[in-house]
């Protein structure tokens, strides 16, 4: 089982550490924030550039957005208000992961327009978490939010994998995007890296 929650001893006595083990879990978390903010279209872009040794993850939504004061607050886990349901541990954890890998996060937001979260990493940094099972993340997002549209792009040195659920829904012509054969197809497409080589273990095959 691939999970960041490490357990010690018997199940009843286990201790938890709240840590996202890979970047695809951070993406799942931040995008769930966006859906909670009422977004109907969410763009997820993962760009790797080996020449610049950078990895940049951009998550942009058209949800309710935040004012300037809230944007500064979401980075502080101890200064959150629960009135918006937009904030919590998710952003501070992502920022921690970025900082540990020579990177940072930037949040820009406008009320009633949307929010953009950009996390950048030093790609070769020894503490840069692996991307992990991004296919499982996208399938979980589509399954849990069938009415939200997702634009996904992963590029490694300019070679890209693209997905746009609006195009898929148009082709499916009324058949649900959550139908297992459709999700399988999406899983297969995204499990392969843009070079075509499968580097991402699935949740089922990863060691515990």
């Amino acid at each position: 089982m691939k999970t960041a929650a490490r357990t010690t001893g018997r199940a009843a006595e286990r201790r938890w550490t709240a840590e996202m083990e890979d970047l695809s879990l951070h993406i799942l978390d931040v995008v769930e924030n966006a859906t909670a903010a009422g977004a109907t279209l969410i763009e997820i872009r993962i760009h790797e550039d080996s020449r610049k040794d950078r990895m940049v993850i951009t998550i942009k939504d058209n949800g309710q957005g935040m004012d300037g004061e809230m944007v500064t607050k979401v980075k502080d886990p101890f200064c959150t208000t629960r009135t918006t349901r937009r904030v919590g541990m998710g952003i501070p954890l992502l920022e921690q992961s970025a900082r540990e890998a020579g990177g940072s996060i930037e949040i820009t937001s406008e009320p009633n327009v949307g929010t953009e979260v950009v996390a950048s990493f030093c790609a070769s940094h020894i503490d840069r978490k692996p991307l992990g099972d991004i296919a499982a993340t996208m399938v979980a997002l589509i399954l849990g939010n069938p009415d939200v549209d997702f634009i996904y792009q992963r590029s490694i040195d300019g070679v890209t994998t693209d997905l746009d659920t609006r195009e898929i829904k148009e082709q499916l012509d009324g058949v649900s995007i959550t139908a297992p054969p459709v999700l399988n197809l999406i899983q297969d497409l995204l499990s392969a890296t843009p070079e075509g080589e499968d580097l991402n273990g699935s949740d089922q095959t990863a060691s515990s």
Partner: protein
């Protein structure tokens, strides 16, 4: 550039067309995986993947799978809630793929809630 092939989608559309659209309320069981920050960090995604595989491999057509946010019981994550039509919802706690498969087999397929993984069953007794 890698993209989904339109002919694959057309093939799937023909294969799935005519089956019941579960999203319109026509389902027997609804399974909700709690996908807040706490749930995701604790392993909610493998639970979701396991449920999808169970639904697919058993060709189940009357079960709907969805996600929700934090339920306020973060130390019990990963959690899922099973709602069988006409019955009280049951929350399962501290899950992993193995426990999830057992719950799917016994509760979703056979109708018997798995007491050992449930947060609670029924209301408190007075004796």
């Amino acid at each position: 550039m890698a993209k989904l092939r339109i002919e694959d989608l057309k093939r799937i559309k023909e294969g799935v067309k005519g089956t019941v659209n579960l999203r319109e309320g026509n389902f027997r069981v609804k399974i909700t995986v709690h996908m807040g920050t706490c749930g995701i960090a604790a392993g909610a995604r493998p639970v979701m993947s396991t449920l999808l595989k169970e639904i697919e491999s058993r060709h189940v057509t009357d079960v709907i799978l969805t996600s929700s946010g934090c339920a306020g019981l973060c130390s019990h994550e990963p959690m899922l809630t099973i709602e069988v039509q006409g019955q009280a919802p049951i929350k399962y706690i501290r899950l992993d793929p193995e426990k999830t498969s057992k719950i799917f087999e016994e509760h979703v397929m056979q109708g018997n809630p798995v007491a050992e993984y449930a947060l609670s069953l029924g209301s408190e007794t007075t004796h």
